[in-house]
Each structure stands twice: as C-alpha cells, then as structure tokens.
C-alpha cells in the first residue's frame, strides 16, 4: 500500500502539473507576448517613472545601456498575482524586481509601452524545484535529528543502567502486556515503548521521536524476518501515528495562544477515539495474518 500511495502521489502531481500548464498555455494565462500600455504620471528624475495600472501605481526604473532598454518593476504586494508568478519564473534570478522589456515612451500621451518576460510551464518547474528542495531538506532534517537523538539516547542509557526504566515499565506493564503480547516481560523494548508513549501523552514531540526510534531498534532484535515489520512494530506504529495526546503539542499552543485551552477536551476525545480504532484494527489485522 505504501508503494501505491507513494507512486500515486508522484504520478498525480506530474499529471496535474502538466494538465495545469497545458491549460495555461492554451489560455495564455500569463498574457505572454501582451504589450502593456500604461499611463505614467511623473518622471521624478530621468530614470524613475510612476506607472498607473488598475487603480494603483508603482515606481519603475528605466535601465538604459542594455539593448533593448529594460523597465525594472519593484515586486510589491500591489502587483497582480500573475505578475508575482511571472517574477518568480523570469530568467533573471532577480528576486527584488521584475525585468520587463521597454518598447516605447510616448511623451505626448504620457504612455509607456512594455512587455513582460514570457512564462511557460509554471507548475512543472514548481514540482521539480519542490522535489529538489525537499530532498535537500530531508538531509538537514535528519542531521538536525542526530543531535536530539544522541541526547535522548544518552539519557536513556543512564536510565537503563540505573534501573529507573524498570520501575517505570513495571508501573504500566499490565497495559503493555495486552498491547504487545509477543515481547518478553523484562525486555528493554518495553522501557523505550513506555517512555515514548509518555512523551507522546505529554505532547513532547521532539523527545518522542528518538525514544520511538530506540524502541523500534529494540523491537527489531525480536523480529524474526528482519526486512519485514513485526506485529509488535505495527502496534507500536499504530500508537504513534494515532498519537495518544493528553496535552496539545507545543506548536498548537504557540499558534492558538490562550484559545487552545478550550480545545483540550475535544483533542482528548478525538485522539482517544482514533487511538482506540488504531489499536483495535492493529490487533485484528495481527490476528488475521497469523
């Protein structure tokens, strides 16, 4: 299923992007080749000009010297959306201004004619850029995780050696035994699983992940087929993907501010429902696959 979802995402995005771009080409959505004739009001100095377009104005620079002359339009909120997209996709790597080709200045009618750079295949460019950017970001994410991983793994090691983990596991063992019948009672995986669950419940996302990874590695030592997920792993993933949370995650608190407090009840209710469904279905699928 992961295979088909993964391939599906990629194929759908390419098909949609192509369709979108063909639609844009047929309708000429970006007015490629369109000559704009805009009235101007003042030449502040010899190179700066104030242009008026659909009720707003902007100050553009005339750049002579290159052939043909160019009109530099600063990119601001005031510009129409399609112009922003054109600016992002223009061949010059300038992010501050849109480079248009200046055709003529009519000093009698106070009108300036110019043509914007042509833009084609916007969505296809966008998905390719997104793919490369994310591939790069994935490595940054993983490297960032390395430090936090090391921190928590180090602390876990202390807790294991000192026997603290054992005390913790004993406390919630009855629940864990029901969820993970395949794991022996004193196996270290039980400790990591319970700490991971505790971190999830308390909304400590960045502590939960390293602890969860540790648990997966310990579950792998019990796994019979090393390239395939065990039932215990699937149950563990069911708990983690459905997120047993009693306290809202820190990001949500930051976003919602004080308003988050009235959401605690709905969050607990919704997450309990989803966790219950996940645990029951994981149990059922495990039994069925035997």
């Amino acid at each position: 299923m992961l295979n088909s979802i993964w391939a599906g995402l990629i194929i759908i995005s390419i098909v949609f992007a192509t369709g979108h771009d063909i639609h844009d080409e047929l309708n000429n959505s970006y007015n490629n080749g369109h000559i704009y004739h805009l009235p101007y009001s003042s030449l502040k100095d010899t190179t700066t000009i104030r242009l008026h377009h659909h009720g707003y104005y902007f100050d553009a620079q005339i750049e002579t010297g290159s052939e043909p002359d160019e009109l530099l339009i600063p990119i601001t909120e005031a510009l129409p959306d399609s112009w922003h997209i054109i600016a992002q996709h223009q061949t010059s790597a300038d992010t501050q201004q849109l480079r248009a080709t200046l055709l003529s200045i009519d000093r009698h009618q106070q009108q300036l004619s110019f043509i914007l750079p042509e833009v084609h295949w916007v969505k296809l460019h966008a998905i390719v850029n997104a793919a490369f950017d994310m591939a790069e970001f994935a490595v940054k994410l993983a490297i960032g995780l390395a430090g936090i991983m090391a921190l928590w793994l180090g602390l876990m090691q202390i807790a294991e050696k000192s026997g603290l983990m054992l005390i913790f596991v004993k406390a919630i063992y009855p629940l864990l035994r029901w969820l993970f019948p395949d794991i022996p009672k004193d196996h270290p995986a039980m400790g990591s699983i319970s700490l991971n669950m505790a971190a999830n419940i308390l909304g400590l996302g960045n502590a939960a992940t390293p602890l969860g990874i540790k648990a997966m590695q310990q579950l792998q030592t019990l796994n019979q087929k090393k390239d395939q997920a065990s039932d215990a792993m699937c149950m563990f993933l069911a708990l983690n993907t459905s997120s047993v949370q009693l306290l809202p995650p820190v990001t949500l608190i930051a976003l919602m501010g004080a308003g988050v407090s009235e959401l605690i009840l709905p969050i607990i209710l919704a997450t309990s429902t989803s966790t219950l469904v996940a645990v029951i279905s994981a149990r059922w699928l495990a039994r069925r696959s035997r």
Binding site: M1, L2, I5, I10, I12, S13, I14, A17, A126, D133, M134, A135, A138, V139, A142, L145, A146, A150, G154, L155, M156, Q157, I158, A159, K161, S162, L164, L202, L204, T209, P210, G212, M216, Q220, A229, M233, C234, F236, L237, A238, N240, T241, S242, Q245, P248, P249, V250, I253, M256, V260, P266, I267, L269, A270, T271, T273, S274, V277, A278, S281
Partner: protein
C-alpha cells in the same frame, strides 16, 4: 499548560541523572556510550525521508490538492462538514510543517474563534504525520515491508478527522 511542558523535560533529565548517581552509574561515560548511536541512526533514516518528503512536496506544489478539494466538497457538504478543512485532512498525515502552515492560514482567514479553525486545530492536535512517522521509524531499522502499519495509521487519521469534526460541531457549533 505551556509552563508544564517547559518543566517536564528538565525534571525528567534531573530524575534520570539523580537516580543514576544514586545507583553509582558512571553517568558521563554511560551517556556518551548511548549517544554514539545518534548520528548513525539519523543517517540511516535519510533515504526514507527523502523518498517520502520529495513525493509530498511534489504533490503540494502541483496544485492537485485544490482540484481534489473541489471534487470532494459536495460529499463534505452532504455530511455537514465545512469544506475549508479539507486541505488539513489531506496534508495532516503527510507533513507536520505543512499542516502548521495550513492551520496558520485558516486562523488568518477565519480568526481563531471560528468553528473551522477549532476543528482544524483539534485535528492537528489529535492526529500525527503518519507518513513521516512511518518513514522515520521503519527507516531506523531498515524495514521496507511495512505490512498493515500504513493502513492502520491512515484509518486512525480518518477516524481522528471525523471525530474532531463531529465533536467540535456538537461542542461549539
């Protein structure tokens, strides 16, 4: 609430350290010994992360979601679910940062007191980024055959989504 999260981690670290010292564990050496695995694990995850993240990034950039949203909105309307939360339902299982962005956008557009935002925030708080968790956890032990884990995760997301919607509608609607 926030204060609680702030205190939990220092407290946890303190308890682990004191318990270790009390039981005469060589805390520094043991810490370093455990921490050694951190980097290797992070590197092992990279290919799995790249695979998942780049596919999701392409999907988001393609604009397919907007079109899917229009396609599915009649069904949402039929069930009495606000269609504005559709992007949240689709993106939440895929990316954490993406869903934060969507939530921020909804707050900006509708205000944090609106029903749509409450539903979206409840969904955000009650479900997880299933695909990311799957990639990271299975990646850390180099497992490719995930069996039924994804189905269970997506089922949990769908349940969380419906539960969040109906609980919020009955509480705040």
């Amino acid at each position: 609430m926030q204060a609680f999260s702030v205190f939990v981690i220092p407290l946890l670290i303190l308890v682990i350290l004191l318990h270790g010292l009390y039981h005469k564990v060589a805390v520094y050496e043991v810490f370093v010994e455990g921490a050694k695995d951190g980097f290797a694990t992070a590197v092992r995850i990279i290919p799995y992360l790249v695979a998942i993240l780049f596919a999701i990034a392409m999907f988001r950039a393609s604009g397919a979601m907007e079109s899917l949203g229009q396609l599915i909105s009649p069904f949402f309307a039929l069930l009495g679910i606000p269609t504005e939360i559709f992007p949240m339902a689709i993106i939440r299982p895929m990316t954490g940062s993406g869903s934060v962005g969507i939530l921020a956008e909804l707050i900006h557009n509708f205000g944090s007191e609106s029903l749509v935002v409450k539903i979206a925030a409840t969904m955000f708080g009650s479900t997880e980024t299933t695909l990311y968790v799957l990639a990271v956890y299975f990646g850390s032990v180099s497992i490719n055959k995930t069996r039924y884990a994804l189905q269970v995760g997506l089922l949990a997301d769908a349940t969380g989504f419906l539960a969040a919607t109906f609980i919020c509608i009955s509480l705040f609607g």
